[in-house]
């Protein structure tokens, strides 16, 4: 084989190797290796390894569980991923989107035998956008999307 043909063969091989590596990256799942937040189910399963650590827990604010202490900013509510419920306490400013049935990410130190006291709360909204007239339909769809993004 001449030199040019040899070079071309090597180039094709390189492209194949690089492409293969990239494809294997797409298919190798890093689930659980590094996530922005844990779901209530996961945190309750990994009580030992995560206790005493700073964690983020994501889910939906369960309807009918939000309790506001009158006169203060203190609130209590349950976070759910559709399977497990997880109680959270918080004292501070809330993002505007925070309400029952809405996605939320709470951050704090996880002590298994105590209530989870959040040091900060982020709202996580779904990718659904709908006009105000359709809000009933929208709320139902948004709930589904939020729970789906917990999987």
């Amino acid at each position: 084989m001449n030199k040019k043909g040899q070079k071309r063969l090597f180039l094709i091989l390189t492209v194949l190797v690089v492409g293969g590596a990239l494809i294997s990256l797409v298919f190798s799942s890093f689930t659980g290796a590094l996530v922005y937040f844990y779901t209530p189910t996961e945190i309750l399963q990994q009580t030992d390894s995560l206790s005493g650590k700073k964690v983020r827990i994501g889910g939906m604010v369960q309807e009918g569980t939000l309790v506001k202490e009158s006169g203060t900013l203190k609130i209590r509510f349950m976070v759910t991923d559709g399977e497990k419920l997880f109680p959270v306490q918080y004292d501070g400013m809330l993002p505007d989107l925070f309400r029952e049935g809405q996605g939320v990410i709470v951050e704090g130190t996880w002590q298994p035998d105590q209530d989870f006291i959040a040091s900060s709360i982020l709202a996580k909204h779904s990718e659904d956008y709908m006009p105000v007239e359709m809000s009933e339909e929208g709320i139902a769809k948004a709930k589904k999307s939020i729970l789906k993004s917990m999987q």
């Binding site: 390189t14 590596a21 990239l22 990256l25 799942s29 590094l34 390894s49």
Partner: protein
């Protein structure tokens, strides 16, 4: 061919060891990093174990940035860069030689820094040294591969060192994350470094396959 790779690498390593230029500055620099870390965090033994992966990779990054700045320095000082490129050897081979030289130097420095870090931070992880060093080698393979290519790219540039850092940092971000996580994974008994080691391998494959070509395209004709 292989002989040429070996000759280029050997010339760089021996030349550097004789002048002790890169090696000693990399060593002193990493000691400075360790001292700053100690002063900033004052970790107890347990905290130091947690900090160690990040600390190791921070020194790897800083020292290799320093080493990479000098990969083509000798050629540039005596104006031999163009000559090196005009040599009858294929440029992929020149790249491999340069890369091997830089890899050996970086590994040599890390082999000295790793025990030093364990001593200075009082971390009892002596039995884990082979594992940790294995992860370091995996990361440094890809890091130096990309780094030598970027060093060739910025060789003629103004404010070369800053530019090198600007180009290298975003591109190796996933490698550093994977390296830190894999090191943390091998240091705890029930850790799972598997996915991160796989990511390091993917990174090494991609860069070591691509970099010789990139080097060739840089200096063609």
């Amino acid at each position: 061919m292989l002989k040429a790779v070996y000759r280029i690498a050997w010339k760089d390593v021996v030349g550097d060891l004789r002048r002790r230029a890169t090696l000693s500055s990399m060593l002193f620099f990493s000691i400075a990093v360790l001292v700053v870390f100690q002063a900033a965090f004052e970790p107890d033994r347990q905290a130091a174990t947690k900090l160690l992966p990040g600390l190791l990779w921070a020194t790897v990054l800083f020292t290799s940035l320093m080493g990479l700045g000098r990969v083509f320095q000798a050629e540039e000082e005596n104006g031999a860069f163009e000559g090196l490129m005009l040599a009858s050897v294929p440029r992929g081979i020149i790249f491999l030689g340069k890369w091997l030289g830089n890899l050996l130097l970086t590994l040599l420095v890390q082999a000295m820094i790793l025990p030093l870090t364990l001593i200075l931070f009082n971390v009892d992880a002596w039995h884990l040294i082979p594992h940790i060093f294995g992860v370091l080698i995996l990361g440094i393979l890809g890091l130096t591969g990309l780094g030598v290519l970027l060093a060739a790219m910025t060789q003629a540039a103004r404010s070369r060192e800053t530019l090198l850092a600007l180009l290298l940092l975003p591109l190796v971000a996933p490698l550093l994350i994977a390296g830190v996580q894999a090191t943390a994974g091998v240091m705890v008994p029930d850790g799972q470094p598997g996915p991160w080691i796989r990511l390091l391998l993917i990174f090494d494959t991609v860069y070591l396959a691509l970099a010789p070509w990139g080097f060739g395209w840089l200096v063609e004709e």
